[in-house]
Subunit: 151 residues, 4 copies
Amino acid sequence: MTDYDYGDAGQMLDVGRAILAEQPFNGLIGAELVGFAPGEAELRLPVREELRQQFGLTHGGVVSYLADNTLTFAGGSVLGPTVLTAEYKLSFVRPAIGDDLVARASVVHAGRRQAVCRCDVFDVTDGQESLCATALGTIRALQDPSADTET
Amino acid sequence: MTDYDYGDAGQMLDVGRAILAEQPFNGLIGAELVGFAPGEAELRLPVREELRQQFGLTHGGVVSYLADNTLTFAGGSVLGPTVLTAEYKLSFVRPAIGDDLVARASVVHAGRRQAVCRCDVFDVTDGQESLCATALGTIRALQDPSADTET
Amino acid sequence: MTDYDYGDAGQMLDVGRAILAEQPFNGLIGAELVGFAPGEAELRLPVREELRQQFGLTHGGVVSYLADNTLTFAGGSVLGPTVLTAEYKLSFVRPAIGDDLVARASVVHAGRRQAVCRCDVFDVTDGQESLCATALGTIRALQDPSADTET
Amino acid sequence: MTDYDYGDAGQMLDVGRAILAEQPFNGLIGAELVGFAPGEAELRLPVREELRQQFGLTHGGVVSYLADNTLTFAGGSVLGPTVLTAEYKLSFVRPAIGDDLVARASVVHAGRRQAVCRCDVFDVTDGQESLCATALGTIRALQDPSADTET
């Protein structure tokens, strides 16, 4: 599925974690990359009080962030590290109320420059996962990440 | 368009700002509600370093947060304050590189319990706005915000 | 997952086929319901010349029709027969060039009045299936199908 | 906005109509291109009985077809005639019950190879238009339309 060579499984996860560590916004949110393999990515996020909304639920923007970023990592797993999310659709199916979120994304189809990926986000309470959102999006490889996304 | 009565224009904006102030996650992000009227909402966000990704651009998750929350406020402007985003689709059209983001959402159609809304997100550099993302989503009124979103 | 009782497996498929037969538009397109079970639906469509576009590919509108209708049947499998698609997103991943399309949809999450469903559409050439599109959407149960969809 | 030269306004509409006439599927559906200008397209469709579903409404697949095709024409108005819809999201906001559908699409942002477009679909009854659906999608220019859409 991929032409991009991240090295072996351990090297690939290390590269992925280094990319995530370079994102200042993730420093604010606090997600961890727990899986990164060709065609797949998994992020986990401890949900502290600051990530909630006014009803005590995990904020939809946090679920969005996690879905978006996990989609991007899944696409990047086959397209290489210089990728951006071009577009995605997110459906919330249950309020997220637990202590952790886990997002798992996989590549549905990849071409040379784009990948269509899907992502399920799970709310974790007492170790039990329940699906809280699902997403479908397009990830695009960039020649120059500071250039226009619509090349 | 709306049955919900927020009071006059000044009162409505005050209520909207109070709702935003109750969202711990927005305390972390720092958006301000600058417009809230029947069928419309506008959020503005100063983009500090912590909200960027590894290429120096505003993180897509931040753009997502702003689009999602502005859609929710637009829906809430007609459905009342107890609303959640059920689903949305976001297309990124230009990288956001500026100092501020402004998101403007409006209601396309509202029923009693749901509203379809759209949102444009603009990147602001030296006072010049350029569209960086556009979204389309569904906002749902909840009887009980801690209950299942799929009622 | 469902409160709606269609009877046993054979009865359920018969009811589904009767519903499809009542759709004049499907008479024009010619899809067949080949699977209909709680949480799942499958439609198959022979692609004749009239269903193609100017490059000889199956028209995107035909793929859309099939995805949309299969999503609706999947939602209807748990919500009952009086349902409509509220919204969906469709990503085309490969041109459809073959002699048949097969669409398989399943329920991701169902509440009492709405279901989030996904659907994969496959192009079939010489008996070989390849994914040509994937969709994610929301199906809504209606009290009165001639009333406003946004109730 | 566009590098592609269709000639003057009358020539451009003629080219667009010729493209639509080459789509066998449109021969079955019967839409007419009534507007085609840089960044914009409009299709009109008389809704005969065959285009309805079992409740007497215009079939969602017909609305989808019209939205999808009008998005493609809008994208093609700036990218040139060799384009395909890569993905789109459609929200139905009212049942379509009238005698005609009108779809108007415009380009939100165009790069060299892709355009993000939106489309509103109106139900027309006794000359009165009411919005029945709205869409947001991505149109992609192809070098070779028979090649993989994910290039």
